[in-house]
């Protein structure tokens, strides 16, 4: 999880209008109050910024924000290869 975690959290906070201090990796999506519409908006912004394509079911088995960030990081890293 080298480079992008802070940027990704910034985008999620901006798109989902969530207080950034709530966006810690250990928090569950439910705790954060991140619903599916918020998440797709954030995903859209992340796709635009990093030029990655994120499948609709990419977050099917994610529970915490950390899980989501790990998936996103993997996609961004894969794009670099």
């Amino acid at each position: 999880m080298a480079g992008h975690e802070e940027e990704l959290i910034d985008i999620i906070a901006e798109e989902a209008l969530i207080d950034r201090s709530k966006l810690v990796p250990s928090a569950t999506l439910e705790d954060i109050g991140l619903d599916s519409v918020d998440l797709v908006s954030a995903v859209f912004a992340i796709e635009e910024k990093y030029g990655v394509e994120i499948a609709e079911d990419a977050f099917a088995r994610t529970d915490t924000l950390g899980d989501v960030l790990a998936k996103l990081e993997a996609l961004i890293e894969a794009k670099k290869d």
């Binding site: 798109e15 209008l17 797709v40 908006s41 859209f44």
Partner: protein, 408 residues
């Protein structure tokens, strides 16, 4: 006799300012919000053009966020954000902020075209960049009912909530419908009005393509007028049953006396005299306005050669030999043509005018035009008026006419 319906709150946002106070100060000072504006279609479009327009200045979304005390970010297209800002101000003046308005409240607001900015950005990606994915919130941002849904959610309105769309008469139909809901017993209070934000790069070109816009400025009823100027913004009113207002101790601004709603069934872009006359006469009937000593008339007054000629003739015919008793204002010369919001923005300004006894002047007037003679234009300086009655006109493409009547 039906119980009176009264206005207890007003709100506005436009090129003249972010609230009623700024708007009123500007029209009294003769300040116009019209200015050369750069419209840039972006790297894939044709070269940017500078066109006269009257857009909300500064940070309109920021003004909404400051009013609400929370962020809205990019969740709303500007046309919905402006509606929410004006509604918040109107409800604040009415003393109705702070608790959910509930099932006896309604929201009816109009707009001409929906979320033009959002749709244009989405289509630029889709057709221009040829990206296969469209932003997931495109539809809820674009839909013509986005503003009323935003207002209902913000203020807890669980009664009748819907949008009206009739081009430049949209807000007029919304105000009339909101009043009808109260008169029909479906609500005690209604947030009504309209909003518009269609001055996107493509939107402004569409207006230019129609050859309805002026290259200089909006000169209602003037010699040398050559078209309208597109603006954006919103106007909102709180209407309620008189007993509801009295029970709350709310200050009554004016009574809503009725509306005239007619259709020309004639032409997509040309007005008809008969439709405009009929709308004004219908609106005037309940309050006896045709026999009144003085009625302030807030004209549709777009500054197009055809509208102003037709409207002047309609006022002369509707009021007959009494036409010259009634001062005519045309505030589009200051706030531009805010399309689906115009009846509401005109109404809130003109309601302040009869409250203050002061009519704001028509701006940019070059001199009399014989085709617009026989009506009493307010020119130069703000004019002291005795009128306690107000008629607001909005005449739309497709021949859809609304006149609204209020009195103090």
């Amino acid at each position: 006799m039906a119980e009176p319906i009264v206005a207890t709150g007003l709100g506005a946002i436009s090129a003249l300012g972010h609230d009623m106070a700024e708007t009123w100060d500007a029209v009294l000072a003769g300040r116009s919000g019209i200015e050369p504006t750069l419209f840039d279609p972006g790297p894939r479009g044709p070269p940017p053009v500078t066109t006269a327009a009257a857009l909300v200045k500064g940070d309109g979304i920021g003004a909404l966020e400051a009013a609400l005390g929370r962020r809205v970010g990019s969740s709303l297209d500007p046309f919905a954000a402006y509606a929410l800002k004006a509604a918040h101000e109107a409800l604040g003046q009415a003393g109705l902020l702070g608790q959910p308005l509930g099932a006896r409240a309604a929201v009816v607001m109009g707009n001409g075209i929906g979320g033009m900015h959002t749709l244009e950005k989405a289509y630029d990606k889709f057709f221009g960049v040829r990206v296969g994915k469209i932003h997931p919130l495109t539809i809820p941002r674009v839909m013509v009912s986005a503003p009323v849904s935003a207002v209902a959610m913000e203020f807890g309105v669980t009664g009748p909530v819907f949008a009206t769309s009739s081009a430049c008469a949209s807000a007029g139909h919304a105000i009339a419908q909101g009043a009808s809901l109260i008169a029909g017993g479906l609500a005690d209070v209604a947030v009504v009005g309209g909003s518009e934000a269609m001055a996107s790069p493509g939107g402004i070109r569409s207006w230019e393509g129609l050859q309805a816009t002026s290259e200089t400025t909006c000169r209602p009823f003037s010699a040398g007028r050559d078209g309208m100027i597109v603006g954006d913004g919103a106007g909102a009113l709180v209407l309620e049953r008189l007993s509801h207002a009295e029970a709350r101790g709310a200050r009554v601004i004016a009574e809503y006396c009725g509306a005239g709603l007619t259709s020309d069934a004639f032409h997509l872009t040309q007005p008809s005299l008969d439709g405009a006359i009929a709308a004004m006469r219908q609106a005037c009937a309940p309050g006896g306005f045709l026999e009144a000593d003085q009625v302030l008339i807030s004209a549709h007054g777009t500054g197009t050669p055809l509208n102003d000629k037709n409207e002047a003739a309609a006022i002369r015919t509707a009021f007959g030999e009494r036409a010259l008793r009634h001062p005519v204002i045309a505030t589009k010369s200051a706030h531009g043509h805010v399309i689906g919001a115009t009846a509401a923005l005109q109404a809130v300004i003109a309601l302040r005018a009869i409250e203050e006894g002061l009519a704001p002047p028509i701006l940019n007037y070059l001199g009399p035009d014989e085709e617009c003679a026989g009506i009493d234009l307010v020119l130069g300086e703000p004019r002291k008026i005795s009128a306690r009655k107000l008629l607001v006109n909005a005449f739309a493409f497709g021949g859809l006419n609304v006149s609204l009547a209020f009195r103090r």
